[in-house]
Symmetry: D2
Subunit: 152 residues, 4 copies
């Protein structure tokens, strides 16, 4: 369960403490809870780019739907642990984009790695549509690299 | 759904933003989620008194079990709302104690009122036992009043 | 934590097994989870009366908002326990109604008692409105008593 | 978001209705909730093989830890949808095993595909240990194929 992944090139971090109700009968954070952590961290990532998250999550009449999620659990997190969640958008396609997330505990242990792919849909008709330019531009500017990979 | 409760004598506040996964299909925070908010705020209250919450919640070999919960919902909270959760211990009996909680949104609206009664049990045998003196003393010191009401 | 409540006059029961992810680090069902159980059982109660719950919960252009919740926890439920949730509507006012719920384990132990008050609101403008007649009639017919108490 | 996967060789199915509190503000089942569905279905799979799940999940002094989770979301599920969750153990290694899960709605639509890898650990010291023979035998018997792939 070790990892030799390069954890360095993350420009965004979000701190999150493990809550009582997230710990299961095996005394560890339940495996599904990490997907809430990942989502929380992605929302904070978007807020950090200047996008408003009030009432709903809409950018230029686009909404976002998760089409793929994965997590590798390296070590359990426990009640009261302070976690650092690293987030970056790692790929932008025409209508979808992919986030990478890493969770590291304050003692430096690598807890969990995640990957989420999101598709842009039209708010009115629910059909896929191109990623809003404002989002693409903001992310490219923030991540400082060309992200226009073939994520679709 | 208005309230004329006196919200002033709370010495502890905890800020908490509404997360995406806490909002239900009616676009408001789900009614059960408030009990997580209340618990989070009570834990922060205890941490603020100096009690450690790492791995488990045990004070002087005592554990704590919720025996009563109630909530009055005054106004809905929505995605992205920043909430202030006021907490105080309002009653201490021999083996049980009661918390009052109020949730106020950053625009001043009164969202929710809660009441939770907790019983102290022995960590080894699960039987009720007197509240740890360290907890009683800390709370009395913090709240600045005699709280020894007949909560049992 | 005993109870001498009369558990007999419930005409509706819903069976529900305790799931892995509902059990917390103290090896019991988390206190907030019971409010999900109560809601599930209320929905089954309405379905049993013939109301459809697909996509949203709307009866005659009315929606329903929980304004009060309470639970008394008599004994903990644990992983794999099979629970029987008894539900009845116990009061109907002009625009609000109240449910009583009791949870009993298959071995006969009384686990939890709940009370929930719901307000009817207009689907379009969100304002309180009278309870739909179809709902009132169905409940009165099912419960076999005059429920027109002053719940408002 | 269509799929041409072969969904036929599943010997176990679990039916599960979408609950009110599992639907998010976008009116679909939240992406993290599927990992609860998957876990529920895996537990039912084990119960169907004759393993008892009461109080904790232990087979021959072994406990089980999820080390990998993934989900592909094909179509959203909504409030009140009746889902069929297909489960099979698809790989058994020395100390780990992998489940495949498919979620199909009652109208035949393919909702979600999942994959979960679980590691066997010793209940006493938390170290990985070989999969209990009773589990291996039961699964091989049930699935009717040689599953001894290199999952480790």
């Amino acid at each position: 369960m070790s990892t030799d992944k390069n954890l360095s090139p993350f420009n965004f971090k979000y701190n999150r403490e493990v809550k009582t109700y997230e710990v299961d009968f095996q005394h560890v954070v339940h495996n599904a809870i990490y997907f809430y952590y990942f989502e929380e961290a992605r929302i904070e990532y978007l807020k950090n780019l200047g996008f408003s998250i009030k009432g709903e999550i809409t950018i230029s009449n686009s909404q976002f739907v998760v089409v793929h999620n994965q997590a590798d659990y390296h070590e359990p997190a426990r009640l009261g642990d302070m976690l650092e969640i690293l987030v970056r958008m790692s790929k932008i396609g025409r209508s979808s984009f992919t986030y990478e997330m890493e969770i590291v505990r304050e003692d430096g242990r690598h807890i969990c790695s995640g990957l989420t792919t999101v598709v842009t849909i039209d708010r009115e008709n629910g059909h896929p549509k191109p990623i809003p330019e404002s989002l693409r531009k903001s992310v490219e500017n923030f991540e400082g690299v060309a992200l226009n990979a073939a994520a679709d």
